[in-house]
């Protein structure tokens, strides 16, 4: 008779979740499930609210990436108004999105995953935090803090506050950028580019020590999805949807985000509150795909900023065709930080960004609107329907993390089958299974946060109920 091993909670991710591993009579892991144990209900309780409240309601979904929801929601509202956002406002929104990606990626890499990467997967859990990172590599730790601080400062400078800002409005933004603020952001960029570049070089120098993890952390063929521009660059703020396959071939291109029901299906499973989107033409679960940094780097044709372009070329040379290991989300995340900084500088150096024409106004012109943008973790879609008074009658949100749900579940199975020995559990085994999830940097709600010191109690029992092994991690 098989056994069930539970990892609850999964630590150093945004939100609450647990993992169960099912073993067979021989103690081999035969199934793995990633359970998201929280429920939010935003799609339901926004019904009846005026559409113009949506950006500020929806950004409350998340404390880490509120800007992403703010932007996707504002874009859905732009569609309801059928309004043309002024060019300067468009650029300002783009800069805000880049700042959001920088701060979120810095949190994921330096605070949450670097402890594993620097101290090792088997390190004492009490050391696996930013203090441990600092002891191992003070410069890297300080750099990570500075990068996150910079991203947050840009958000605060543009939008007034770091978390849940209200600056982005349907039709544009509600205040132009002053020259003094523009200059202040620009003056900091060389320093943070240097930090991002050095962090990336450090990672590249050490990545080979994780050969086994690279081979087994959700390393399998899937599709990749993301927004790209018409000339094949990454479309962080807008663009069309592209799917590529594990051979790097384009499966579908030029898809409109608003048409997502034609190519994305959503399945549900009884063990989790998180849905399982899939590529509709291939069905469920064969339509498995991944989004986020790894996907974006796999599906673009080029990048336009010099340092990131060079790093991207090197990254793509890791493997013929597409990079399949989800361990490389970390690598991709660091390259994206570099790109976002370079790209931000380009926008800020454009004199038009100081234009005072930053908002267009209109009445309600459509009863249905879709907004999409690339959040740090992948493509984010907000879809609203309203009545004649502009009150929300229906909303559907496809959150970036959801797209990766199938891959995360399959990924923990792959890692558990490789690392977990069911007769003798070790902290390092369990941490590797958790680390697969961390590589995806899921954002399960961002309302709460579980660090590596939440109580954890895993018991391994024989078919007769006899206790074989036990791991107790106190709070």
């Amino acid at each position: 008779m098989g056994k069930t091993i539970t990892i609850d909670p999964v630590t150093r991710i945004e939100g609450h979740a647990k993992i169960t591993l099912q073993t067979d009579d021989r103690g081999e892991v035969v199934n793995a499930q990633f359970h998201v144990t929280q429920f939010r209900g935003f799609e339901k309780f926004c019904e009846g609210r005026p559409f113009y409240e949506m950006p500020y309601l929806m950004e409350r979904i998340c404390g880490i990436c509120p800007v992403s929801h703010l932007l996707a929601s504002a874009k859905a509202c732009d569609a309801l108004l059928a309004v043309r956002v002024p060019p300067a406002a468009m650029k300002l929104r783009r800069v805000l999105n880049l700042a959001q990606i920088i701060q979120s990626h810095a949190l994921s890499f330096f605070y949450l995953s670097a402890p594993d990467l620097l101290l090792g997967m088997d390190a004492d859990p009490k050391d696996r935090n930013i203090f441990g990172v600092h002891r191992a590599n003070p410069e890297l730790a300080r750099g990570g803090i500075r990068l996150r601080q910079f991203g947050q400062q840009v958000i605060e400078t543009l939008a007034g506050k770091r978390i849940h800002p209200r600056w982005v409005v349907p039709g544009g933004v509600n205040e132009p950028l002053s020259q003094a603020n523009r200059d202040a952001i620009l003056s900091a960029i060389p320093e943070v580019i240097d930090i991002a570049f050095r962090s990336l070089q450090f990672f590249k120098k050490n990545v080979e020590t994780f050969r086994e993890e690279i081979r087994t952390f959700a390393a399998f063929p899937t599709l990749f999805m993301g927004l790209v521009t018409s000339d094949g660059r990454a479309g962080y703020y807008d663009g069309h949807i592209r799917f590529t396959d594990a051979h790097g071939k384009i499966v579908a291109d030029g898809l409109l985000p608003a048409d997502y029901p034609q190519y994305l299906g959503e399945a549900v499973e009884p063990f989790t509150f998180m849905k399982f989107p899939y590529y509709l033409p291939l069905g469920y679960p064969d339509g498995i795909y991944r989004v986020g940094p790894l996907a974006r780097l796999n599906l673009i044709d080029r990048w336009e900023t010099p340092l990131a372009q060079q790093e991207w070329v090197e990254f793509r040379a890791l493997q013929r065709n597409a990079i399949l290991s989800s361990f490389h989300y970390h690598y991709a995340r660091l390259i994206e930080i570099l790109y976002c900084l370079e790209h931000m500088r380009e926008f800020l150096e454009d004199p038009d960004i100081l234009s005072t024409h930053v908002r267009s106004t209109a009445s309600l012109n459509n009863y249905e609107g879709v907004g999409a943008a690339e959040a740090p973790r992948g493509t984010l879609i907000h879809h609203y329907r309203v009545d004649e008074q502009g009150l929300i009658t229906w909303a559907n949100l496809i959150i970036a993390t959801n797209h990766n749900n199938l891959a995360m579940n399959r990924g923990i199975l792959q890692a558990a089958q490789h690392f977990v020995r069911a007769d003798k559990l070790t902290e390092g085994m369990l941490n590797r299974v958790e680390a697969v999830i961390r590589a995806f940097d899921p954002c399960l709600s961002c309302s709460t946060h579980a660090d590596g010191h939440i109580p954890l109690h895993v018991q391994l029992r024989a078919p007769d109920g006899h206790l074989l092994d036990e791991v107790l991690r106190p709070s």
Partner: protein, 163 residues
């Protein structure tokens, strides 16, 4: 160099939790100048360790239900002892931030104080409860007093807090 850094923590939507933000607004208007920075935040986060590392005086303003409503509690803040700490990005503390400042940047403010106002409610509201509202002048006076250079031994601080 910022001589004085005031860090005010609170959520403007949660009733008395916003009292530090009220204090910050008044202090910013009253004491604005190159030597003083007032920073507001919804939570203590690790990134605050960096600005702490280059100030001479840090004052943490916050609300808490550990004290009776309207009570103004002052104390000096010292870094946590020991080399290893748990760092939760959602639950940092002034003492932990000082530890980070010292460990990560080899610097920390020579003087650091916290002023905590006892809160009645953190329920959803834009306004402060009357007792907490009434405590604002005293909290401002304590802050000004610290900025003006008064130094307090811990025993004096305890006595002040008990008044």
């Amino acid at each position: 160099m910022t001589r004085t850094l005031i860090l005010a923590c609170g959520n403007p939507l949660r009733g008395d939790d916003a009292v530090a933000l009220h204090l910050a607004r008044q202090l910013r208007e009253e004491l604005a100048g190159p030597g003083l920075t007032v920073h507001t935040t919804q939570q203590w986060t690790p990134e605050l360790a960096e600005p702490l590392s280059h100030c001479e005086l840090a004052i943490f303003l916050d609300a808490s239900q550990r004290f009776s409503p309207g009570f103004v509690h002052c104390e000096s803040v010292v870094p946590l002892a020991g080399a290893s700490h748990t760092l939760l990005t959602h639950s940092c503390s002034p003492a932990l931030l000082l530890s980070m400042s010292r460990q990560f940047y080899n610097l920390m403010p020579p003087r650091a104080f916290s002023i905590t106002i006892g809160a009645q409610t953190f329920a959803f509201s834009f306004s402060l409860s009357p007792l907490v509202e009434k405590a604002i002048p005293e909290a401002l006076a304590r802050t000004r007093s610290i900025i003006s250079g008064a130094t307090f031994a811990p025993s004096v601080l305890r006595a002040l807090s008990a008044q």
